[in-house]
């Protein structure tokens, strides 16, 4: 009787939600994860959408059943309790095994992606990132370019209490630095992460990965970006007073522009390896060459 009707209704609700949610949510800027511009960020995004849709379907079925029960079995509508309905081995086995099957189905693509994520071999460029309270140091191990990257002055003034500056008037408020990281497009870049004082985490959403920078440890991730642009992120592990004020800005540039940028920045880095000097070097045109800005 009503059981069949509910199954049909529940199934069609689930299908409708799943069908609509995918494309719709993907298009809502600021509500969903960014798809990003790297091989890994896209893999991760796809996994995120897959598990999200699986959850939506399960939610539609489970919440559907709950809502049906709330409507159908109301005492005020004359429902009488069936007190013998207390146990069903068949149902209980089913709703134990079904989730197991769904979870295995989810675990397989997740494990596959993880194997790729952890494979940092065959990189063409290595950058060591060191977290400090509260700035980042970047060392290009292949070319010797080295510099610190700190919160841009404009944001730094505006963020003071009582500064009188409306953050909305500051371009890229809290997401701009004095010196951008520059990486070449379509190149597998290995990023080594460590820290000098407390634990930080290096995260640029559009590049897909986040990993902790820990004193005494070297973690590694890899990035292979396929779109030119400027991508912004932040420290993601609480690191003290100015945790919210040590952003990361990465410029993905063409290989030629990158080689040029290395040449320009190499000289001062060789003669005066001390970082403050590099920091004082002008954030020149090479550092801001590209078009789109990723939020």
């Amino acid at each position: 009787m009503s059981k069949k009707r509910w199954l049909v209704a529940g199934g069609s609700i689930a299908a409708a939600v799943a069908g609509l949610a995918g494309p719709a949510f993907a298009g809502w800027d600021g509500l969903n994860m960014t798809k990003g511009v790297t091989e890994l960020s896209e893999k991760i995004y796809d996994l995120h959408m897959l598990i999200f849709e699986v959850c939506l379907v399960i939610a539609a079925i489970v919440f559907g059943a709950m809502i049906y029960a709330l409507v159908r079995f109301r005492k005020s509508k004359g429902a009488v309790a069936d007190t013998s309905h207390v146990h069903s081995t068949a149902y209980e086995i089913a709703w134990t095994l079904l989730p197991v099957a769904i979870l295995i189905a989810m675990a397989v693509p997740a494990a596959r992606a993880l194997v790729v994520i952890e494979d940092t071999r065959n990189s063409e460029l290595t950058i060591k990132v060191t977290g400090y309270q509260w700035k980042w140091q970047y060392d290009y191990l292949d070319s010797g370019v080295s510099f610190f990257s700190t919160l841009a002055e404009s944001s730094n003034f505006a963020r003071e209490r009582g500064s009188g500056i409306d953050p909305n008037t500051v371009e890229n408020y809290l997401l701009e630095v004095d010196q951008h990281v520059v990486i070449p497009v379509d190149t597998k870049v290995r990023v080594l992460l460590t820290a000098n004082d407390v634990i930080h985490a290096w995260w640029v959403p559009a590049l897909g990965m986040k990993k902790d920078a820990i004193p005494g440890f070297v973690n590694e991730i890899w990035i292979k970006a396929h779109a030119l642009g400027t991508y912004r992120g932040q420290c993601a592990e609480l690191c003290g007073r100015d945790h919210g004020f040590m952003p990361i800005v990465v410029d993905v540039v063409s290989k030629e522009d990158f080689n040029h940028w290395v040449e320009v920045h190499k000289a001062p880095a060789e003669t005066v390896p001390a970082a403050p000097q590099a920091q004082a070097a002008p954030a020149d045109a090479a550092a801001t060459p590209t078009s789109s800005t990723n939020r």
Binding site: V62, S163, I165, G244
Partner: protein, 541 residues
């Protein structure tokens, strides 16, 4: 279950008790101590809530308006510590004190003096903890997870926080021992373990979790203390130590702790949903096994809190799979609760409303938990507002709504008066609506890239932060109804019957409302299981 004789309710003349302050200071009575715990939890809920409102006020708009970053960090740290150790855990011990003796047919807790002691430690612990906000160097600003090396940069607040945690741990362990001893020794002779009410079951398992993990936390914070003051280098890489080891130890405590906070809520919901469905709990045995499985799994999933710390591939896969497994027993519980309502006769009094909100909203927290278990996706979610949304969905509509369902369920039993149902229904709707306004947008913020624990944010996050802050203030202010409703009910109201609810079922409802000072001076004769025959919620006496 059915009684073979009417219970003798003439207990009044035994109820000699001291009056005034000394009644509360020296009490060894389970009901008085339960009341103390619940009152303490309520006060801490509002202190922790006030901290949350300061945080949400600062996050109303980008830029720093009212707090400096150090105070902000101290507030997030203490908000968590106060809510976890001050509000939720003491509330559950309060429920255990009030309800376990009444539900298992015992006159009191097994270890009444230790019971008194375990409560009276708490005001001292929280004087230390809250006092740490006012010492030179400011409050503990390293987050409630106290990760070194950051937490070691604290000033005088560090030893205060550490000693406060030691005291809370001692209190919890004593409470847990008392509960285990009471359940194992003082229940009715013929009440087998598989006849225990679900609330008693969940607390029995919770108590074992507490005894297993509170010493682990105590060890971790003691190592912080010696690293800071006595020259050890447990967590200092420069001295041959390992900062990541702290995280492993902390989360070995921390994950079971999550279930310590929420298992008793499972118990209460498992009492409330059958009562207002006028039907026994569906799949009682499966529910017990599910709770036990969750408790077991909670010991082997800890590293899912730290996937970004850099672990070997095999370890990441193991912790992903074990974490996903938790969805299975949790699913069993949700399905069984739904099946309990199926073919029931539902009514929607305030306890049922809170239990239903628990069912829906805790499930949402479960779904985001499943998403967080997927390691590659977690690399994006970790340490963002998505995580904040997830654990608040599990803890506010989970643990806190469980507490509210429990209070509204048993309050007439405790006080002997009915409370203002209309006002309580208002309390429910305001809470249920605004808890979503408060926490749902935080999913969006996290996915869009907002890290957690930042006092100021980039301007594209403004809109949802404003929505969240509006939700926070509306939710917070609606909670003022809760103590008002309770106070009004304690002062007077329509006389509650012994049953209170039409579908209520269990030993506590055989006692008068309010129950005598000592619950069961004579053990009642009750039949369980097969001997008891057909289930009939009305045939209680």
């Amino acid at each position: 279950m059915a009684t073979s004789h009417a219970h003798d309710t003439a207990h009044g003349h035994h109820d000699a008790k001291p009056y005034g302050m000394s009644r509360w200071l020296f009490t060894t009575n389970h009901k008085d101590i339960g009341t103390l715990y619940l009152t303490f939890a309520c006060i801490m809920f509002f202190i922790g809530g006030a901290m949350a409102l300061l945080i949400r006020a600062e996050l109303w708009h980008p830029g720093l308006q009212i707090l400096d970053p150090v105070t902000f960090n101290a507030l997030t740290t203490n908000h968590a510590l106060v809510m976890i150790f001050g509000a939720v855990m003491p509330a559950w011990v309060g429920f255990a004190n009030w309800m376990i003796p009444m539900q298992i047919g015992s006159p009191d807790m097994a270890l009444p003096r230790m019971n008194n002691y375990s409560f009276w430690i708490l005001p001292f612990a929280f004087t230390l903890l809250l006092g740490s906000m006012f010492v030179p160097g400011g409050g503990p600003a390293g987050g409630w997870t106290l990760y070194p090396p950051l937490s070691l940069q604290a000033g005088n607040s560090l030893p205060m926080t550490v000693f406060a945690i030691h005291l809370m741990g001692a209190s919890s362990i004593m409470g847990a021992i008392n509960i285990i001893v009471t359940i194992t020794n003082l229940r009715l002779k013929n009440m087998s373990l598989l006849h225990l009410p679900l609330f008693v079951w969940t607390w029995l398992i919770t108590a074992y979790l507490l005894i297993a993990v509170m010493p682990v936390l105590a060890g971790a914070v003691t190592m912080l203390l010696t690293d800071h003051f006595f020259g050890t280098r447990f967590f200092s890489a420069a001295g041959g130590g390992d900062p990541v080891m702290f995280q492993h130890i902390f989360w070995f405590f921390g994950h079971p702790e999550v279930y310590i906070l929420v298992l008793p809520a499972f118990g209460i919901v498992s009492e409330v949903i059958p009562a207002f469905s006028r039907k026994p709990l569906f799949g009682y045995d499966a529910m017990v096994y599910a709770v036990a499985s969750i408790a077991f799994l909670s010991f082997i999933v800890w590293a899912h809190h730290m996937f970004t710390v850099g672990m070997p591939l095999a370890a990441q896969l193991f912790f992903m799979l074990s974490t996903m497994l938790i969805a299975v027993p949790t699913g069993v519980k949700v399905f069984n609760w739904t099946a309990t309502m199926w073919r029931g006769s539902l009514s929607f009094e305030p306890p049922m409303l809170f239990a239903l909100a628990f069912l829906f909203l805790f499930s949402i927290g479960g779904f985001s938990g499943l998403m967080l278990a997927i390691v590659p996706a977690d690399f994006q979610y970790q340490d963002t507002y998505f995580v904040v949304a997830h654990f608040h969905y599990v803890l506010v509509p989970g643990a806190i709504f469980g507490i509210m369902a429990g209070v509204y369920y048993w309050l007439p039993k405790w006080t002997g008066h009915m409370y203002d149902m209309k006002l309580a229904t208002w309390h429910f709707w305001l809470s249920a609506i605004f808890v979503n306004v408060l926490f749902f947008p935080q999913h969006f913020l996290g996915l869009a890239g907002m890290p957690r624990r930042i006092p100021d944010y980039a301007t594209q996050f403004t809109d949802w932060n404003m929505v969240s802050s509006i939700g926070a203030f509306a939710f917070g202010l609606s909670q003022l109804l809760f103590p008002y409703i309770i106070w009004k009910c304690v002062r007077g109201g329509a006389k509650a019957t012994d049953d209170v609810w039409e579908g209520s079922h269990g030993l506590e409802w055989l006692l008068p409302s309010p129950p005598p000072y000592h619950s069961w001076e004579t053990a009642p004769t009750i039949q369980f299981g097969e001997e008891a025959g057909e289930y009939d919620p009305h045939a209680k006496h």
